[in-house]
């Protein structure tokens, strides 16, 4: 698997002073997949990407990009990728169009047709100076440059943080098109809906370490589904059934209104019991990515972690 993966890290560790930004992080991105890369601020997403781009050298561990060493071979490997940084920084006195060309010049090549098409789809005025653009428009320049490039891999670090919903839509369409053409995408994001809509597989990291990784279906299988049901009579033994937790119920207007959460594996058996009691209405909500994310983070970050994130940001600066 190692030799076919586009991105592969094993035990990746990066230390800034006395702060561990990455702590034995494992990440594998397979060819042709959109890989969601999730984690709170300061979890190490940007640091991972910088190591993968050869901008920073790992303290220890192993990082591979297209099977090569990103630190030693950066310029050669970069021929095959395009990158959108988390904080889009461009030259204020250049126009958007000039920036596109300057960025394009150091990429493996630019598809001119796609460039024109993207400018139109993202509704960008390429004759405006970068310093006159809003944050969202600067973001669009970086996105168009990356999407127009002849690349096998797109590395996107929170690429839509300044975009409006319409542009977000356009962005998702573009990513789907590129994936259909066989492009691999590493998508670091905060927007769960976006990752849910695009990602084939997801890695969630925390404090520089991978907490969980897999397809969305995989992740969901190990988590709980919320059920709300109104039945004609009381379902027998529902509260004590295998896999049911957080059970609450009350009689409303002669109907039994129950809420509970359940392991996906036990869903079938429980639905049988509900059916026996006569289903009036039934809502089954699979866990959202938000829920998965929060579950992996134990609902909230503890104060220690917030402090560690702060010092990490300082150290990276």
């Amino acid at each position: 698997m190692t030799d076919t993966a586009v991105i592969h890290t094993e035990g990746l560790t990066k230390v800034f002073g006395n702060v561990r930004a990455l702590d034995r992080l494992d990440l594998t991105v397979r060819p042709g997949e959109v890989h969601g890369f999730l984690g709170p601020n300061g979890a190490g997403k940007s640091t991972t990407i910088r190591v993968l781009l050869g901008l920073m050298k790992a303290t220890s561990g192993h990082a591979e990009l297209f099977g090569g060493d990103p630190w030693r071979d950066a310029p050669r490997l970069h021929r095959r990728l395009a990158y959108v940084a988390g904080d889009v920084a461009l030259w204020p006195a250049l126009t958007g169009g000039q920036c596109l060309d300057v960025l394009g010049a150091t990429q493996g090549g630019v598809d001119e047709r796609r460039r024109t098409d993207l400018i139109e789809r993202f509704d960008l005025d390429p004759t405006k100076r970068v310093r006159d653009y809003s944050k969202g428009n600067r973001q669009k320049v970086a996105l168009i440059a990356a999407l127009a490039a002849h690349a096998d891999l797109l590395v996107l670090d929170e690429p839509t943080s300044g975009l409006d919903p319409l542009m977000e839509q356009a962005f998702q369409e573009c990513i789907r098109e590129r994936r259909e053409e066989g492009v691999t995408v590493l998508l670091s994001s905060h927007i769960m809906g976006e990752v849910e809509a695009l990602a084939d597989r997801v890695s969630i990291i925390r404090r520089g370490r991978t907490v969980t990784s897999g397809t969305l279906a995989d992740l969901r299988r190990h988590t709980r589904t919320a059920v709300r049901v109104v039945t004609v009579s009381e379902a027998v033994g529902l509260a004590d059934a295998d896999g049911v937790t957080d059970f609450q119920s009350e009689w409303i207007d002669g109907l039994k209104d129950s809420r509970f959460s359940i392991n996906s594996d036990n869903l079938d058996a429980v639905i049988g019991r509900l059916h026996a009691a006569g289903i009036h209405t039934l809502t089954v909500t699979p866990p959202s990515l938000d829920a998965l994310f929060l579950q992996n983070y134990g609902e909230t970050l503890d104060p220690d972690e917030v402090a560690a994130d702060g010092s990490l940001a300082e150290a990276a600066r």
């Binding site: 910088r50 920073m56 050298k57 990728l81 904080d87 920084a89 250049l94 960025l103 100076r129």
Partner: protein
């Protein structure tokens, strides 16, 4: 905070808050300005007081500098120059013409348009801050800083033995000068969209003021009265003492500030009278290569420093014959210019070349500082995410900045050679002048090497480069005049060049310095290739 207050105290609340914010933003910059200005004024005054310690010496100085229009155009027409205060006003005249207006411009622009451009102002105006209050606070903080500088001037002058009344009037005239430009910058901040525009237009006004004052003084006409620099001069602190003349800059400054406040209160946030238009849709082919982009990034700085160098050398060259005449009858003047013995013309060219070396070294440090800005603002990260390697990126920038250095040194030396040759009527000076300009290159490269090493190892400590530059400038300008010991003079690389063409070029020392420079650059390159990006 939670309790609702009366509107009257509310009004003060906004201003108080803004004053605290602006004070915090400006604290470090303002302090640096006050200290640097105070130190240069007191340093100048003290060294002049020591050099011209008898009325006879002062008299011969006065005779020398008033013997032609040249120095009057540069330093200004000083009334009452036949006094210690007059000599100080004359010697400090050139520096004061630029530093004080710059102080006002910087303080006002920093806290107004720059804050608006960055979006921070929007955050504040979303709170309980009225639209005009940030500008008002900026102007109040600027005024306080300027007045503090003025107080330091008075203390320094009085300590050096200048009469109190004259010292106060002189300091006030400079305070008023800085105030006018603070008001101008505050007004321009309302009209232009970016802080850069504020600086550009303010500097254009400043340059025009300098030219108007120069023309007026040289021709002895009313033209001087059109220039804010002229208003300061016409107070004649060591001559007739026209206190009423302070009313002109005060009125001008207040009306500029008033208009700025009025506009700030009425216009939309983020709006401007002058907006930049559309630009090209595609980048030219040369912009797409690493060297082309580096040229584009460094061009404004190269042209700016080149203009400074050409202005200085052109002026000095054009005045060379006049200065030679003045020096012929006055040894003290020659000594004050750092020309003690030997052929006066060579000494004069050597002195100018030293000034030029300081300009060129300043360019080098600033240009390498630009690399740090590229990295700190995140553009380097984007730049290196493509097929461009670190080594190529740094090499193209180094190449361009060395090319810029050559342009500045050669261009300015050429202008110096030509104008001097024309002034004294002898073309033979041209070659000598060019050679002595080039002889300073290794010294400038040592500074470039140092700056690159700091950038490669720890960009955060880039201030070290500027401190080294300041030390070099200080030793080069004041070391010989203040009779520093040899080891102290030897700290500055410029000392080792050999003061050409008055002295012989020290080929051995130049070789050593080139070696040091190359070694430092290699260290910088190696370190840069090994460290993480971005680091600031």
């Amino acid at each position: 905070m939670s309790a609702r207050r009366l509107p009257a105290s509310d009004r003060l609340f906004g201003l108080r808050t803004m004053l605290r914010i602006v004070g915090r933003i400006q604290r470090r910059g303002a302090l640096t300005w006050v200290l640097v200005l105070g130190a240069s004024m007191i340093g100048t005054a003290a060294s002049i007081a020591a050099l011209y310690d008898t009325p006879t010496k002062i008299h011969s100085y006065a005779e020398a500098v008033t013997s032609g229009n040249a120095l009057v155009a540069i330093n200004g027409m000083v009334e009452g120059i036949d006094s210690l205060g007059g000599v100080i006003q004359d010697e400090f005249g050139f520096m004061a013409s630029f530093l004080l207006p710059l102080l006002g411009i910087r303080l006002a622009a920093r806290a107004t348009r720059l804050e608006e451009e960055s979006g921070r102002l929007e955050l504040l105006l979303g709170g309980r801050i009225a639209r005009h209050e940030p500008t008002l606070a900026a102007l109040l903080v600027a005024t306080a800083t300027i007045v503090t500088t003025g107080l330091l001037f008075v203390v320094g002058l009085v300590v050096c033995g200048v009469p109190l009344a004259g010292s106060i009037l002189y300091a006030l005239s400079l305070v008023a000068l800085a105030f006018v430009f603070a008001g101008l910058a505050a007004l321009l901040a309302q009209l232009t969209l970016h802080a850069r525009g504020v600086y550009t237009w303010s500097l254009i006004v400043l340059a025009s003021s300098y030219v108007l004052r120069g023309v007026g003084d040289a021709t002895k006409t009313w033209v001087t009265w059109l220039s804010p620099l002229g208003w300061a001069e016409k107070t004649a602190p060591f001559g007739d003492q026209r206190w009423w003349a302070l009313a002109i800059p005060l009125a001008a400054g207040l009306s500029l500030c008033g208009t700025a406040l009025l506009l700030a209160a009425r216009r939309d946030l983020g709006s401007a009278l002058v907006r930049s238009g559309a630009g090209p849709e595609r980048a030219a082919a040369r912009l797409r290569g690493p060297i082309g982009l580096a040229v584009w990034i460094h061009r404004p700085a190269i042209l700016g420093w080149l203009a400074g160098g050409v202005l200085l050398t052109g002026m000095m060259g054009a005045l060379s014959q006049q200065l030679l005449d003045a020096m012929a009858g006055n040894h003290a003047l020659a000594e004050a210019m750092g020309i003690a013995n030997g052929r006066p013309l060579d000494g004069f060219v050597a002195a100018t070349q030293l000034y030029l070396a300081v300009i060129a070294a300043g360019y080098v440090v600033q240009a390498i500082g630009t690399l740090r800005t590229e990295e700190a603002e995140g553009r380097l990260e984007t730049r290196l995410s493509g097929t461009l390697s670190r080594a190529r990126w740094l090499a193209s920038h180094t190449l361009v900045l060395l090319g810029g250095l050559m342009m500045i040194v050669l261009g300015s030396s050429l202008v110096l050679g030509l104008t001097t040759a024309l002034s004294v009527g002898d073309m033979a000076e041209l070659g000598t002048t060019l050679r002595s300009g080039l002889a300073y290159l290794p010294a400038e490269l040592v500074l470039a090497g140092l700056a690159l090493t700091v950038y490669g190892l720890r960009p955060r400590l880039f201030g070290i480069s500027w401190v080294s530059y300041a030390v070099m400038t200080f030793i080069a300008f004041l070391g010989p005049g203040l009779k520093f010991r040899q080891w102290a003079l030897d700290i500055s690389p410029t000392t080792h060049v050999g003061n050409p063409p008055a002295g012989t070029i020290q080929t051995g020392a130049l070789t050593v310095m080139t070696g040091v420079a190359v070694t430092l650059m290699v260290v910088g390159f190696t370190a840069f290739r090994r460290r993480g990006v971005p680091q600031s």
